[in-house]
Amino acid sequence: MKVLIYGEHRDGQIRKITFENITLTRSLNAPFEVVFIGADIPDAGEQLSRYGAEQVTLVKGSGLEKYSPDGYAKILAQLVQKHEADVLLMGATATGKDLAPRVSAILNAPLATDCTKVELDGDQLRLIRPMYAGKVLANVSLNSGIKIVTVRPNVYSAHENPADAEVREETVEVPDLKTVVKEIISGAKGKLDVTEADIIVSGGRGMKGPENWHLIEELAELLGAATGASRAAVDAGWRPHDEQVGQTGKTVSPTLYVAVGISGAIQHLAGMSSSKYIVAINKDPEAPIFKVADYGIVADLFEVVPKMIEELKKMKN
Protein backbone atom coordinates (compact mmCIF):
# COMPACT_ATOMS: atom_id res chain seq x y z
CA MET A 1 0.00 0.00 0.00
CA LYS A 2 1.68 3.17 -1.16
CA VAL A 3 1.14 6.46 0.62
CA LEU A 4 1.52 9.90 -0.88
CA ILE A 5 2.09 12.52 1.81
CA TYR A 6 1.12 16.05 0.92
CA GLY A 7 3.93 18.25 2.19
CA GLU A 8 2.81 21.49 3.73
CA HIS A 9 4.95 24.55 3.64
CA ARG A 10 4.70 28.24 4.29
CA ASP A 11 7.26 30.95 3.68
CA GLY A 12 9.88 28.41 2.70
CA GLN A 13 9.36 26.41 5.88
CA ILE A 14 8.12 22.85 6.03
CA ARG A 15 5.28 22.66 8.50
CA LYS A 16 5.37 20.32 11.45
CA ILE A 17 2.37 18.27 10.31
CA THR A 18 4.44 17.00 7.39
CA PHE A 19 7.00 15.49 9.73
CA GLU A 20 4.20 14.12 11.92
CA ASN A 21 2.68 12.39 8.91
CA ILE A 22 6.06 11.00 7.88
CA THR A 23 6.56 9.54 11.35
CA LEU A 24 3.05 8.12 11.27
CA THR A 25 3.53 6.52 7.85
CA ARG A 26 6.85 5.01 8.87
CA SER A 27 5.12 3.44 11.85
CA LEU A 28 2.69 1.80 9.42
CA ASN A 29 5.61 0.31 7.51
CA ALA A 30 4.12 1.59 4.29
CA PRO A 31 6.21 2.84 1.37
CA PHE A 32 5.68 6.54 0.86
CA GLU A 33 6.59 9.64 -1.07
CA VAL A 34 6.29 13.26 -0.03
CA VAL A 35 5.11 15.83 -2.57
CA PHE A 36 5.23 19.59 -2.27
CA ILE A 37 3.38 21.85 -4.66
CA GLY A 38 4.75 25.30 -5.42
CA ALA A 39 7.33 25.11 -2.67
CA ASP A 40 10.59 26.93 -2.54
CA ILE A 41 12.39 25.16 0.28
CA PRO A 42 16.14 25.47 -0.08
CA ASP A 43 17.03 22.72 2.39
CA ALA A 44 14.08 20.41 1.81
CA GLY A 45 16.28 17.34 1.34
CA GLU A 46 18.17 17.93 4.53
CA GLN A 47 15.07 18.58 6.63
CA LEU A 48 13.13 15.65 5.25
CA SER A 49 16.09 13.25 5.54
CA ARG A 50 16.14 13.93 9.24
CA TYR A 51 12.63 12.53 9.60
CA GLY A 52 13.18 9.57 7.36
CA ALA A 53 11.73 10.55 3.99
CA GLU A 54 13.41 8.79 1.09
CA GLN A 55 11.48 10.11 -1.87
CA VAL A 56 10.50 13.71 -2.21
CA THR A 57 9.01 15.50 -5.20
CA LEU A 58 8.90 19.27 -5.50
CA VAL A 59 6.22 20.14 -8.03
CA LYS A 60 6.75 23.37 -9.93
CA GLY A 61 4.66 25.23 -12.44
CA SER A 62 3.94 28.79 -13.37
CA GLY A 63 1.58 30.49 -10.93
CA LEU A 64 1.92 27.77 -8.30
CA GLU A 65 3.92 29.96 -5.91
CA LYS A 66 0.59 31.11 -4.52
CA TYR A 67 -2.08 28.77 -3.26
CA SER A 68 -4.97 28.18 -5.60
CA PRO A 69 -7.61 25.82 -4.19
CA ASP A 70 -8.81 24.55 -7.56
CA GLY A 71 -5.38 24.54 -9.19
CA TYR A 72 -3.64 22.69 -6.35
CA ALA A 73 -6.49 20.18 -6.17
CA LYS A 74 -6.26 19.29 -9.85
CA ILE A 75 -2.49 18.92 -9.68
CA LEU A 76 -2.60 16.88 -6.50
CA ALA A 77 -5.23 14.55 -7.96
CA GLN A 78 -3.01 14.00 -10.99
CA LEU A 79 -0.02 13.29 -8.73
CA VAL A 80 -1.95 10.67 -6.78
CA GLN A 81 -2.67 8.86 -10.02
CA LYS A 82 0.71 9.35 -11.60
CA HIS A 83 2.54 8.14 -8.51
CA GLU A 84 0.07 5.26 -8.19
CA ALA A 85 -0.64 6.01 -4.57
CA ASP A 86 -3.28 4.03 -2.68
CA VAL A 87 -3.55 6.56 0.11
CA LEU A 88 -3.23 10.33 0.09
CA LEU A 89 -2.27 11.54 3.55
CA MET A 90 -2.62 15.18 4.52
CA GLY A 91 -2.86 17.28 7.65
CA ALA A 92 -6.21 18.43 8.96
CA THR A 93 -4.84 21.96 8.79
CA ALA A 94 -6.49 24.92 7.09
CA THR A 95 -4.89 23.86 3.80
CA GLY A 96 -5.64 20.18 4.24
CA LYS A 97 -9.26 20.91 5.11
CA ASP A 98 -9.59 23.06 2.02
CA LEU A 99 -7.76 20.86 -0.44
CA ALA A 100 -8.51 17.26 0.50
CA PRO A 101 -12.26 17.35 -0.26
CA ARG A 102 -11.58 18.74 -3.72
CA VAL A 103 -9.17 15.91 -4.49
CA SER A 104 -11.75 13.50 -3.10
CA ALA A 105 -14.33 14.83 -5.55
CA ILE A 106 -11.97 14.79 -8.54
CA LEU A 107 -10.83 11.21 -7.90
CA ASN A 108 -14.18 10.01 -6.57
CA ALA A 109 -12.20 8.71 -3.60
CA PRO A 110 -13.62 8.86 -0.08
CA LEU A 111 -12.04 11.14 2.51
CA ALA A 112 -11.87 10.73 6.27
CA THR A 113 -11.00 14.09 7.81
CA ASP A 114 -9.36 15.03 11.09
CA CYS A 115 -8.39 11.48 12.07
CA THR A 116 -6.89 10.96 15.49
CA LYS A 117 -5.90 7.36 14.85
CA VAL A 118 -4.58 5.79 11.69
CA GLU A 119 -3.66 2.11 11.75
CA LEU A 120 -3.02 -0.46 9.10
CA ASP A 121 -4.42 -3.96 9.41
CA GLY A 122 -3.30 -5.93 6.38
CA ASP A 123 -4.56 -3.81 3.55
CA GLN A 124 -7.32 -2.19 5.59
CA LEU A 125 -6.91 1.23 7.09
CA ARG A 126 -8.37 1.50 10.57
CA LEU A 127 -9.34 5.09 11.19
CA ILE A 128 -10.81 6.91 14.12
CA ARG A 129 -12.18 10.41 13.75
CA PRO A 130 -13.97 12.52 16.36
CA MET A 131 -17.49 13.69 15.59
CA TYR A 132 -19.78 16.04 17.47
CA ALA A 133 -16.69 18.05 18.36
CA GLY A 134 -15.19 15.09 20.19
CA LYS A 135 -18.28 13.96 22.07
CA VAL A 136 -18.15 10.79 19.97
CA LEU A 137 -15.33 8.85 18.31
CA ALA A 138 -16.18 7.10 15.06
CA ASN A 139 -14.42 4.11 13.55
CA VAL A 140 -14.72 4.68 9.85
CA SER A 141 -13.81 2.52 6.88
CA LEU A 142 -12.96 3.67 3.39
CA ASN A 143 -13.96 1.15 0.76
CA SER A 144 -12.34 2.18 -2.47
CA GLY A 145 -9.21 2.01 -4.57
CA ILE A 146 -7.79 5.36 -3.55
CA LYS A 147 -8.35 6.56 -0.01
CA ILE A 148 -7.77 10.03 1.40
CA VAL A 149 -7.05 10.75 5.04
CA THR A 150 -6.33 13.97 6.89
CA VAL A 151 -4.71 13.67 10.31
CA ARG A 152 -5.29 16.08 13.16
CA PRO A 153 -2.11 18.04 13.93
CA ASN A 154 -0.31 17.32 17.19
CA VAL A 155 -1.84 13.87 17.68
CA TYR A 156 1.12 12.00 16.26
CA SER A 157 4.39 13.56 17.24
CA ALA A 158 7.25 13.78 14.77
CA HIS A 159 10.36 11.72 15.52
CA GLU A 160 13.69 12.08 13.85
CA ASN A 161 14.76 8.96 12.04
CA PRO A 162 17.48 9.74 9.54
CA ALA A 163 17.33 8.49 5.97
CA ASP A 164 18.68 9.71 2.68
CA ALA A 165 16.07 11.77 0.91
CA GLU A 166 16.20 11.89 -2.84
CA VAL A 167 14.64 15.16 -3.95
CA ARG A 168 13.29 15.37 -7.48
CA GLU A 169 11.74 18.31 -9.23
CA GLU A 170 8.74 17.83 -11.44
CA THR A 171 7.29 20.51 -13.65
CA VAL A 172 3.59 20.31 -14.37
CA GLU A 173 1.16 21.92 -16.76
CA VAL A 174 -0.86 24.34 -14.66
CA PRO A 175 -4.59 24.36 -15.39
CA ASP A 176 -6.61 27.54 -15.62
CA LEU A 177 -6.69 28.90 -12.07
CA LYS A 178 -10.17 29.98 -11.05
CA THR A 179 -9.25 31.16 -7.59
CA VAL A 180 -5.92 32.51 -6.49
CA VAL A 181 -4.82 33.87 -3.15
CA LYS A 182 -4.11 37.55 -3.64
CA GLU A 183 -2.85 38.36 -0.22
CA ILE A 184 -2.01 36.70 3.05
CA ILE A 185 -2.55 38.67 6.20
CA SER A 186 -0.49 37.08 8.90
CA GLY A 187 -1.62 37.34 12.47
CA ALA A 188 0.62 39.16 14.91
CA LYS A 189 4.20 38.50 13.91
CA GLY A 190 5.46 35.12 14.95
CA LYS A 191 2.10 34.33 16.49
CA LEU A 192 1.56 30.63 16.90
CA ASP A 193 -1.84 29.29 15.86
CA VAL A 194 -3.69 27.32 18.53
CA THR A 195 -4.05 24.32 16.24
CA GLU A 196 -0.29 24.03 15.86
CA ALA A 197 0.78 24.69 19.40
CA ASP A 198 2.12 22.15 21.88
CA ILE A 199 0.99 24.33 24.74
CA ILE A 200 -2.00 26.66 24.85
CA VAL A 201 -2.91 29.21 27.49
CA SER A 202 -6.56 30.23 27.16
CA GLY A 203 -8.46 32.92 28.95
CA GLY A 204 -12.18 33.28 29.52
CA ARG A 205 -14.69 35.69 30.94
CA GLY A 206 -12.95 35.40 34.30
CA MET A 207 -10.17 37.57 32.85
CA LYS A 208 -12.62 40.48 33.27
CA GLY A 209 -11.36 42.45 30.26
CA PRO A 210 -8.79 42.80 27.49
CA GLU A 211 -6.65 45.03 29.70
CA ASN A 212 -5.75 41.95 31.73
CA TRP A 213 -4.70 39.81 28.77
CA HIS A 214 -1.06 40.69 29.27
CA LEU A 215 -1.19 38.04 32.00
CA ILE A 216 -2.24 35.37 29.49
CA GLU A 217 0.32 36.60 26.99
CA GLU A 218 3.16 36.70 29.48
CA LEU A 219 2.37 33.24 30.78
CA ALA A 220 2.11 31.93 27.21
CA GLU A 221 5.39 33.51 26.27
CA LEU A 222 7.18 31.87 29.20
CA LEU A 223 5.71 28.51 28.29
CA GLY A 224 6.29 28.91 24.56
CA ALA A 225 2.55 28.63 24.16
CA ALA A 226 -0.12 29.96 21.84
CA THR A 227 -2.93 32.03 23.32
CA GLY A 228 -6.53 30.88 23.10
CA ALA A 229 -9.86 32.13 24.36
CA SER A 230 -13.36 31.03 25.25
CA ARG A 231 -16.27 32.22 23.16
CA ALA A 232 -17.32 34.56 25.95
CA ALA A 233 -14.00 36.37 25.61
CA VAL A 234 -14.32 36.46 21.82
CA ASP A 235 -17.94 37.60 21.85
CA ALA A 236 -17.03 40.39 24.25
CA GLY A 237 -14.55 41.57 21.63
CA TRP A 238 -11.59 40.96 23.92
CA ARG A 239 -9.94 38.49 21.59
CA PRO A 240 -9.97 37.76 17.85
CA HIS A 241 -12.18 34.94 16.65
CA ASP A 242 -9.27 32.84 15.40
CA GLU A 243 -8.30 32.27 19.04
CA GLN A 244 -11.64 30.74 19.97
CA VAL A 245 -11.42 27.16 21.15
CA GLY A 246 -14.50 24.98 21.13
CA GLN A 247 -17.31 23.54 19.12
CA THR A 248 -17.73 26.68 17.02
CA GLY A 249 -14.08 27.60 17.20
CA LYS A 250 -10.99 25.48 16.87
CA THR A 251 -10.49 21.94 18.05
CA VAL A 252 -7.11 21.55 19.64
CA SER A 253 -5.05 18.68 21.01
CA PRO A 254 -2.00 20.23 22.62
CA THR A 255 0.21 18.50 25.15
CA LEU A 256 -0.79 21.07 27.73
CA TYR A 257 -3.89 23.27 27.87
CA VAL A 258 -4.11 25.89 30.59
CA ALA A 259 -7.65 27.21 31.09
CA VAL A 260 -7.72 30.47 33.00
CA GLY A 261 -11.07 31.85 34.16
CA ILE A 262 -12.96 29.49 31.87
CA SER A 263 -15.97 27.67 33.30
CA GLY A 264 -15.80 24.69 30.94
CA ALA A 265 -19.11 24.86 29.07
CA ILE A 266 -19.83 21.78 26.98
CA GLN A 267 -19.04 23.67 23.78
CA HIS A 268 -15.66 24.72 25.12
CA LEU A 269 -14.81 21.25 26.43
CA ALA A 270 -15.64 19.81 23.01
CA GLY A 271 -12.77 21.74 21.50
CA MET A 272 -10.07 20.97 24.04
CA SER A 273 -10.82 17.89 26.10
CA SER A 274 -8.53 15.73 23.96
CA SER A 275 -5.55 17.74 25.20
CA LYS A 276 -3.02 15.46 26.88
CA TYR A 277 -2.86 17.52 30.07
CA ILE A 278 -5.30 20.15 31.23
CA VAL A 279 -4.69 22.70 33.94
CA ALA A 280 -7.61 24.74 35.25
CA ILE A 281 -7.41 27.93 37.24
CA ASN A 282 -10.81 28.99 38.45
CA LYS A 283 -12.16 30.34 41.71
CA ASP A 284 -15.33 28.28 41.52
CA PRO A 285 -14.72 24.72 42.74
CA GLU A 286 -17.93 23.62 41.01
CA ALA A 287 -16.81 24.83 37.57
CA PRO A 288 -17.16 21.95 35.07
CA ILE A 289 -13.66 22.60 33.76
CA PHE A 290 -12.38 20.75 36.86
CA LYS A 291 -14.09 17.58 35.63
CA VAL A 292 -11.65 17.36 32.74
CA ALA A 293 -8.65 19.01 34.37
CA ASP A 294 -5.63 16.91 35.38
CA TYR A 295 -4.48 19.64 37.72
CA GLY A 296 -6.48 22.45 39.16
CA ILE A 297 -6.05 25.42 41.42
CA VAL A 298 -9.23 26.77 42.95
CA ALA A 299 -8.33 30.40 43.52
CA ASP A 300 -8.37 33.90 42.13
CA LEU A 301 -6.59 33.89 38.80
CA PHE A 302 -5.29 37.39 39.44
CA GLU A 303 -3.21 35.92 42.24
CA VAL A 304 -2.38 32.57 40.64
CA VAL A 305 -1.28 33.71 37.19
CA PRO A 306 1.17 36.41 38.41
CA LYS A 307 2.62 33.82 40.76
CA MET A 308 3.03 31.37 37.87
CA ILE A 309 4.78 34.04 35.85
CA GLU A 310 7.07 34.82 38.77
CA GLU A 311 7.93 31.16 39.42
CA LEU A 312 8.50 30.38 35.73
CA LYS A 313 10.83 33.36 35.46
CA LYS A 314 12.76 31.99 38.43
CA MET A 315 12.95 28.58 36.77
CA LYS A 316 14.27 30.17 33.58
CA ASN A 317 17.13 31.85 35.39
Partner: protein, 249 residues
Protein backbone atom coordinates in the same frame (compact mmCIF):
# COMPACT_ATOMS: atom_id res chain seq x y z
CA UNK B 1 -28.96 37.46 -7.74
CA UNK B 2 -30.02 33.86 -7.80
CA UNK B 3 -28.78 32.42 -4.52
CA UNK B 4 -28.88 28.92 -3.05
CA UNK B 5 -28.17 28.07 0.58
CA UNK B 6 -27.56 24.44 1.49
CA UNK B 7 -28.38 23.77 5.12
CA UNK B 8 -28.20 20.82 7.49
CA UNK B 9 -30.14 20.11 10.60
CA UNK B 10 -27.89 19.20 13.52
CA UNK B 11 -28.23 18.55 17.24
CA UNK B 12 -28.07 21.59 19.48
CA UNK B 13 -24.53 22.22 20.75
CA UNK B 14 -25.75 21.62 24.33
CA UNK B 15 -26.72 18.06 23.46
CA UNK B 16 -25.13 15.24 25.37
CA UNK B 17 -24.78 12.64 22.66
CA UNK B 18 -26.23 9.22 23.50
CA UNK B 19 -25.39 6.22 21.35
CA UNK B 20 -27.73 3.40 20.39
CA UNK B 21 -27.14 0.01 22.00
CA UNK B 22 -25.40 -1.39 18.92
CA UNK B 23 -23.15 1.73 18.81
CA UNK B 24 -23.90 2.22 15.15
CA UNK B 25 -25.87 5.40 15.48
CA UNK B 26 -26.64 8.33 17.70
CA UNK B 27 -29.84 7.93 19.67
CA UNK B 28 -32.01 10.76 18.40
CA UNK B 29 -34.88 10.39 20.85
CA UNK B 30 -33.88 13.21 23.23
CA UNK B 31 -32.13 15.44 20.77
CA UNK B 32 -33.16 19.02 20.20
CA UNK B 33 -32.40 19.67 16.54
CA UNK B 34 -31.40 23.07 15.25
CA UNK B 35 -30.23 24.71 12.06
CA UNK B 36 -26.49 24.01 11.94
CA UNK B 37 -24.91 27.11 13.56
CA UNK B 38 -22.54 27.76 10.63
CA UNK B 39 -25.45 27.56 8.22
CA UNK B 40 -27.05 30.49 10.01
CA UNK B 41 -24.20 32.66 8.75
CA UNK B 42 -24.75 31.34 5.23
CA UNK B 43 -28.49 32.04 5.34
CA UNK B 44 -27.92 35.49 6.78
CA UNK B 45 -25.41 36.36 4.07
CA UNK B 46 -27.76 35.11 1.37
CA UNK B 47 -30.63 37.20 2.68
CA UNK B 48 -28.45 40.30 2.99
CA UNK B 49 -27.24 39.90 -0.59
CA UNK B 50 -30.80 39.50 -1.78
CA UNK B 51 -31.80 42.61 0.14
CA UNK B 52 -28.94 44.57 -1.42
CA UNK B 53 -29.00 43.23 -4.98
CA UNK B 54 -32.47 41.76 -5.44
CA UNK B 55 -33.11 38.18 -6.46
CA UNK B 56 -34.21 35.05 -4.71
CA UNK B 57 -32.90 32.72 -2.02
CA UNK B 58 -33.51 28.99 -2.39
CA UNK B 59 -32.96 26.86 0.70
CA UNK B 60 -31.88 23.28 0.03
CA UNK B 61 -31.58 20.54 2.61
CA UNK B 62 -30.96 16.83 2.32
CA UNK B 63 -32.08 14.41 4.98
CA UNK B 64 -35.04 12.78 6.72
CA UNK B 65 -38.37 14.48 7.23
CA UNK B 66 -37.29 16.24 10.39
CA UNK B 67 -34.96 18.55 8.43
CA UNK B 68 -38.02 20.50 7.36
CA UNK B 69 -37.83 22.33 10.68
CA UNK B 70 -34.36 23.62 9.78
CA UNK B 71 -35.64 24.59 6.34
CA UNK B 72 -38.47 26.55 7.99
CA UNK B 73 -35.96 28.40 10.17
CA UNK B 74 -33.96 29.39 7.10
CA UNK B 75 -37.13 30.49 5.33
CA UNK B 76 -38.17 32.49 8.37
CA UNK B 77 -34.83 34.30 8.21
CA UNK B 78 -35.68 35.39 4.67
CA UNK B 79 -35.46 32.46 2.25
CA UNK B 80 -37.97 32.46 -0.60
CA UNK B 81 -38.13 28.89 -1.87
CA UNK B 82 -37.11 25.52 -0.50
CA UNK B 83 -36.18 22.12 -1.79
CA UNK B 84 -36.11 19.12 0.50
CA UNK B 85 -34.08 16.20 -0.82
CA UNK B 86 -35.70 13.34 1.00
CA UNK B 87 -33.48 10.56 2.28
CA UNK B 88 -33.95 8.08 5.07
CA UNK B 89 -30.98 9.44 6.96
CA UNK B 90 -27.98 11.66 6.44
CA UNK B 91 -25.40 9.64 4.53
CA UNK B 92 -22.17 8.74 6.33
CA UNK B 93 -20.18 9.69 3.26
CA UNK B 94 -20.09 13.45 2.55
CA UNK B 95 -19.15 12.79 -1.07
CA UNK B 96 -22.52 11.09 -1.54
CA UNK B 97 -24.36 14.02 0.05
CA UNK B 98 -22.41 16.50 -2.05
CA UNK B 99 -23.15 14.65 -5.29
CA UNK B 100 -26.88 14.72 -4.56
CA UNK B 101 -26.69 18.43 -3.78
CA UNK B 102 -24.59 19.07 -6.88
CA UNK B 103 -27.17 17.57 -9.20
CA UNK B 104 -29.88 19.86 -7.82
CA UNK B 105 -27.57 22.88 -7.78
CA UNK B 106 -26.64 22.35 -11.43
CA UNK B 107 -30.26 22.67 -12.50
CA UNK B 108 -30.77 25.87 -10.54
CA UNK B 109 -28.18 28.01 -12.32
CA UNK B 110 -27.33 29.82 -9.13
CA UNK B 111 -24.97 32.79 -9.10
CA UNK B 112 -23.94 32.10 -5.57
CA UNK B 113 -24.15 28.99 -3.40
CA UNK B 114 -23.70 29.48 0.32
CA UNK B 115 -23.16 26.84 3.01
CA UNK B 116 -21.78 26.66 6.52
CA UNK B 117 -18.11 25.72 6.45
CA UNK B 118 -18.90 22.60 8.46
CA UNK B 119 -21.79 20.81 10.10
CA UNK B 120 -21.30 20.44 13.82
CA UNK B 121 -22.46 16.82 13.94
CA UNK B 122 -20.20 14.89 11.54
CA UNK B 123 -17.60 17.66 11.46
CA UNK B 124 -16.43 16.57 8.03
CA UNK B 125 -15.55 20.06 6.73
CA UNK B 126 -15.99 18.81 3.21
CA UNK B 127 -19.15 19.79 1.35
CA UNK B 128 -18.30 23.36 0.19
CA UNK B 129 -14.93 22.28 -1.23
CA UNK B 130 -16.33 19.11 -2.81
CA UNK B 131 -19.04 21.13 -4.51
CA UNK B 132 -16.40 23.45 -5.93
CA UNK B 133 -14.70 20.53 -7.64
CA UNK B 134 -17.93 18.80 -8.72
CA UNK B 135 -19.43 21.96 -10.23
CA UNK B 136 -16.01 23.19 -11.36
CA UNK B 137 -16.56 26.69 -10.02
CA UNK B 138 -14.63 28.67 -7.39
CA UNK B 139 -15.29 27.56 -3.83
CA UNK B 140 -13.87 29.53 -0.96
CA UNK B 141 -14.53 28.34 2.54
CA UNK B 142 -14.02 29.45 6.16
CA UNK B 143 -15.01 32.89 4.88
CA UNK B 144 -15.28 35.76 7.37
CA UNK B 145 -15.73 38.60 4.90
CA UNK B 146 -17.34 38.75 1.48
CA UNK B 147 -17.50 41.64 -0.93
CA UNK B 148 -19.52 41.64 -4.11
CA UNK B 149 -18.71 44.00 -6.96
CA UNK B 150 -20.79 43.20 -10.00
CA UNK B 151 -19.77 39.70 -10.92
CA UNK B 152 -16.56 39.82 -8.92
CA UNK B 153 -16.10 38.54 -5.41
CA UNK B 154 -13.45 39.18 -2.82
CA UNK B 155 -13.42 36.86 0.16
CA UNK B 156 -11.33 36.82 3.27
CA UNK B 157 -10.87 33.39 4.80
CA UNK B 158 -9.24 32.17 7.99
CA UNK B 159 -6.12 30.07 7.70
CA UNK B 160 -3.84 28.79 10.46
CA UNK B 161 -2.30 31.84 12.05
CA UNK B 162 -3.72 34.42 9.66
CA UNK B 163 -6.12 35.30 6.88
CA UNK B 164 -6.09 34.90 3.11
CA UNK B 165 -7.77 37.18 0.61
CA UNK B 166 -9.01 35.61 -2.60
CA UNK B 167 -10.56 37.12 -5.70
CA UNK B 168 -12.81 35.19 -8.05
CA UNK B 169 -16.02 35.56 -9.95
CA UNK B 170 -19.54 34.19 -9.93
CA UNK B 171 -20.89 31.60 -10.09
CA UNK B 172 -19.15 30.59 -6.89
CA UNK B 173 -19.49 28.75 -3.60
CA UNK B 174 -18.91 30.24 -0.17
CA UNK B 175 -18.41 28.29 3.07
CA UNK B 176 -19.38 30.58 5.94
CA UNK B 177 -17.40 30.92 9.14
CA UNK B 178 -18.44 32.67 12.33
CA UNK B 179 -17.61 36.34 11.98
CA UNK B 180 -19.07 36.68 8.48
CA UNK B 181 -22.12 38.42 9.93
CA UNK B 182 -24.48 38.47 12.87
CA UNK B 183 -27.41 36.20 11.99
CA UNK B 184 -30.85 37.69 12.63
CA UNK B 185 -33.50 36.05 14.73
CA UNK B 186 -36.48 35.15 12.61
CA UNK B 187 -39.19 37.77 13.11
CA UNK B 188 -42.79 36.82 13.79
CA UNK B 189 -43.62 38.09 10.33
CA UNK B 190 -40.83 35.98 8.88
CA UNK B 191 -42.11 32.90 10.68
CA UNK B 192 -45.63 33.48 9.37
CA UNK B 193 -44.32 34.02 5.87
CA UNK B 194 -42.21 30.85 6.05
CA UNK B 195 -45.26 28.81 7.02
CA UNK B 196 -46.94 29.71 3.75
CA UNK B 197 -44.03 28.66 1.56
CA UNK B 198 -44.49 25.27 -0.02
CA UNK B 199 -41.38 23.13 0.45
CA UNK B 200 -40.72 21.26 -2.76
CA UNK B 201 -39.98 17.62 -1.98
CA UNK B 202 -37.78 15.49 -4.16
CA UNK B 203 -36.82 11.87 -3.88
CA UNK B 204 -33.10 11.40 -4.44
CA UNK B 205 -31.24 8.32 -5.53
CA UNK B 206 -28.04 8.29 -3.50
CA UNK B 207 -24.86 6.74 -4.82
CA UNK B 208 -23.29 3.89 -2.84
CA UNK B 209 -21.23 5.12 0.10
CA UNK B 210 -17.49 4.55 0.10
CA UNK B 211 -17.03 5.98 3.59
CA UNK B 212 -18.86 4.07 6.30
CA UNK B 213 -19.14 4.66 10.01
CA UNK B 214 -18.59 1.21 11.49
CA UNK B 215 -18.80 1.94 15.18
CA UNK B 216 -19.34 4.88 17.49
CA UNK B 217 -17.70 5.14 20.87
CA UNK B 218 -17.61 7.57 23.73
CA UNK B 219 -14.18 9.06 24.29
CA UNK B 220 -12.34 7.29 27.11
CA UNK B 221 -13.27 8.88 30.44
CA UNK B 222 -10.66 11.16 31.91
CA UNK B 223 -9.02 10.11 35.14
CA UNK B 224 -10.17 12.31 37.94
CA UNK B 225 -7.79 15.21 38.24
CA UNK B 226 -6.05 16.64 41.23
CA UNK B 227 -6.89 19.89 42.93
CA UNK B 228 -3.40 21.07 43.71
CA UNK B 229 -4.47 23.83 46.06
CA UNK B 230 -6.81 26.69 46.81
CA UNK B 231 -4.47 29.65 46.63
CA UNK B 232 -1.50 31.01 44.74
CA UNK B 233 0.64 29.12 47.26
CA UNK B 234 -0.08 26.01 45.20
CA UNK B 235 1.74 27.33 42.15
CA UNK B 236 5.20 25.84 42.88
CA UNK B 237 3.59 22.44 43.47
CA UNK B 238 1.61 22.76 40.21
CA UNK B 239 4.75 23.55 38.28
CA UNK B 240 6.58 20.66 39.96
CA UNK B 241 3.79 18.27 38.91
CA UNK B 242 3.81 19.56 35.37
CA UNK B 243 7.55 19.14 35.27
CA UNK B 244 8.03 15.83 37.07
CA UNK B 245 4.76 13.95 36.79
CA UNK B 246 3.29 15.11 33.49
CA UNK B 247 6.72 15.95 32.05
CA UNK B 248 5.29 18.71 29.93
CA UNK B 249 7.52 21.53 31.15
Amino acid sequence: MNIAVCVKQTPDTETRIKLTEDQKRVDESDINFILNPYDEFAVEQAVRLKEAHGGEVTVISLGPDRVKTAIRTALAMGGDRAIHLKTEKHPDDPLVTAKALASVLKEGNYDLILLGKQAIDDDHNQIPSILGALLDIPAVTVVIKLEVDGNNLTAEREIDGGHEILKFSMPAIIGAQRGLNEPRYPSLKGIMRAKKIQIEEREVALEPEQLKVELLQYPPPKNPGKIVGDSAEAVPELLRLLHEEAKVL
